[in-house]
């Protein structure tokens, strides 16, 4: 029992945080939708009917009830919340299909490119940091360090269109669109990896720089250990650990990025689902997608926290409470 006690004290607040993030996301979306001027249902119906549709008031009330948009604000807020806990995200105004089904169908396609992009982004950020660290000439280091700011300033549709015109149309190596053809996830994943890798690089390289000033690196240099071995054996481990705290933040970037990337590559997925929902003014679907992203973010943060408790006992035992915090702040500020 005594062994479990620190875990309970460590995990309970984290679980509370997990639930709060989802509740707060729901509240934020609700407030935005209901306090901005305009009637979401009327807008959606007008978009469906194509221009000025005259809607019979009685019919409108019936439709309101059907889409869960009736009653006063409190009834709607708590009604939807109860439904949400039961796994019901409402019905799409544009298609009449349950939102959860639409989201569930789109999610795997987005998950595929997002996880590939995360892998590409993190690995290339680590490789660039290593090359800059080991570069024998200062100009090469400067050149390598210019890549990440470039990745941040690059519009995703530009990198996507460049990749399409080079690798799909000129060279014919990879498909330019769709989800079925083998290798169709590679180009979208690279496009998505560019900003994500650049953000990860900022945090990771800062952590490496900090670790470079520590006594164990000084000792290793004094012993004559090669730069490569110092990087792989000492810096990589110590810098990678705090860097994983921004994983949740990267999930947000990935989710936001899919809207453009999936449109450029004509791929089904969460992003394209959101874009078509906005075009149809289908507020129920958008709300469902944002909640899904909020839940994914909260889940990833929870997993990172638990993993951290395992890897670094100090965080669990509360002796060094603030260890991961500075890095998370640095990541959030960018």
């Amino acid at each position: 029992m005594s062994k479990l006690k620190p875990w309970v004290g460590y995990l309970l607040p984290k679980l509370g945080q997990f639930a709060f993030v989802i509740l707060a996301t729901y509240t934020l979306v609700f407030v935005l939708i209901h306090f901005l001027p305009g009637d979401p249902l009327v807008a959606a119906l007008a978009s469906k009917g194509g221009g000025d549709t005259v809607i019979d008031p009685a019919e409108l009330e019936a439709l309101r009830a059907q889409y869960g948009l009736d009653g006063n604000l409190w009834e709607q807020y708590f009604g939807h919340l109860v439904a949400l806990v039961q796994g019901d995200l409402g019905t799409s105004i544009a298609t009449g299909v349950p939102v959860i089904d639409m989201v569930a169908r789109a999610f795997p396609h987005s998950l595929e490119i997002a996880s590939l992009a995360l892998l590409f982004g993190v690995v290339s950020a680590v490789i660039i940091t290593f090359l800059a660290f080991a570069a024998p000439w200062p100009w090469l280091r400067q050149l390598l360090l210019q890549i990440p700011p470039f990745g941040i300033a690059m519009p995703a549709f530009l990198s996507g269109l460049l990749l399409i015109s080079i690798f799909a149309f000129s060279l014919g190596w990879l498909p330019s669109a769709g989800v079925r053809a083998p290798g169709s996830a590679i180009l979208p994943a690279i496009t998505l990896a560019l900003p994500v890798g650049a953000i990860f690089f900022q945090v990771f390289s800062a952590a490496v720089l900090e670790a470079m000033n520590s006594p164990y690196v000084f000792t290793a240099v004094a012993k004559g250990v090669t730069p490569r071995a110092i990087f792989l054996k000492h810096l990589l481990r110590n810098a990678l650990l705090p860097s994983i705290t921004i994983l949740g933040l990267l999930i947000g970037y990935l989710a936001g990025g899919t809207a453009v990337v999936e449109t450029v590559f004509s791929r089904d997925g969460i992003g394209r689902l959101t874009v078509s929902a906005v075009l149809a003014r289908d507020i129920n679907v958008i709300q469902g997608v944002v909640l899904l992203v909020g839940a994914t973010y909260a889940a990833v943060n929870l997993i990172v926290d638990i993993a951290y408790g395992f890897i670094d006992p100090r965080t669990r035992l509360g002796t060094a409470k603030k260890t991961p915090a500075p890095v998370a702040e640095a990541g959030a500020a960018t």
């Binding site: 519009p155 549709f157 936001g256």
Partner: protein
């Protein structure tokens, strides 16, 4: 001026100067009518006559990019203003009040930061309708969380300074202390951050206009130009890629100058 010896910085200033001219006096830079189509000159490749080539209606793409500058940057600049004002107000209030209210507000701010800005903007656009102003409001709201956080940390830092305590001892009331002492001293980091946010806002606005949520079609917004050219990417890649490169260059220049304002060499 040591800065003037850095080629990257000088180049960025030149780019920004050109962008300002293009926003306020586009006819100085444009070579053709941005809306005038010449049926015989459709899909021409880039040349000295048509710098970026011509589109499917025979319009000069370069002149359209130049004339689209004001509209594209207006939304981005407005978004930064919205983000700074809303964020600063939240941060000021939260930091000054402190205690439990501060704690609850900041947890909501955490969520505001966590929800991707693009998704937040999409909610606003879907509720308010399409157009440059809803884009600005949406993108600005997405940025407000970070501004609130920076503003709050400044307020927490400043409220313990001796001059604030002195003012309080003299009997100056809370709002007056906020306006006269806290706000001016907290402004610098917020301004540096606003400069960095401008680059992000240009990217976000161009992404949303690329998706078709900006001003209606003939308007030459940058993202919309890329989207229009995208239909012909297999035959005329320059149609979409050159306007995209313009966005990249402008964002690089803005970010470079913003980093200098922020105190980085």
């Amino acid at each position: 001026m040591r800065l003037l010896r850095q080629p990257g910085f000088v180049l960025s200033i030149i780019v920004i100067a050109v962008v300002i001219v293009a926003s306020f006096a586009p006819s100085l830079l444009a070579t053709h009518d941005p809306y005038g189509s010449v049926a015989a000159d459709r899909f021409l490749p880039p040349s000295t006559e048509y710098l970026f080539g011509t589109d499917h209606l025979g319009r000069d793409v370069y002149s359209r990019v130049v004339h689209g500058t004001a509209l594209s940057l207006l939304s981005a600049a407005l978004a930064v203003v919205v983000g700074v004002v809303i964020g600063a107000l939240i941060g000021l209030f939260s930091g000054f009040v402190g205690g439990r209210i501060d704690f609850v507000i900041m947890r909501f701010v955490d969520v505001l930061i966590a929800v991707p800005g693009v998704l937040l903007a999409l909610i606003v656009v879907a509720s308010l309708g399409f157009g440059p102003f809803s884009l600005a409001l949406g993108v600005g709201l997405g940025a407000a969380g970070s501004f609130a956080r920076v503003m709050r940390s400044q307020v927490l830092h400043i409220r313990n300074e001796e001059y604030v305590e002195a003012a309080r001892t003299l009997g100056v009331r809370g709002p007056a202390i906020l306006m006269n002492h806290v706000l001016p001293n907290a402004a610098r980091p917020v301004i540096a951050m606003a400069a960095l946010e401008l680059g992000t806002a240009i990217l976000a606005v161009s992404a949303l206009t690329f998706l078709g949520f900006g001003a209606p079609p003939p308007a030459p917004e940058w993202g919309a130009l890329v989207a229009a050219g995208r239909n012909f990417v297999s035959t005329n890649p320059t149609l979409s890629i050159l306007p995209g490169v313009v966005i990249l260059v402008v964002v690089l220049a803005v970010n470079r100058v913003a980093r200098t304002i922020g105190g980085e060499k």
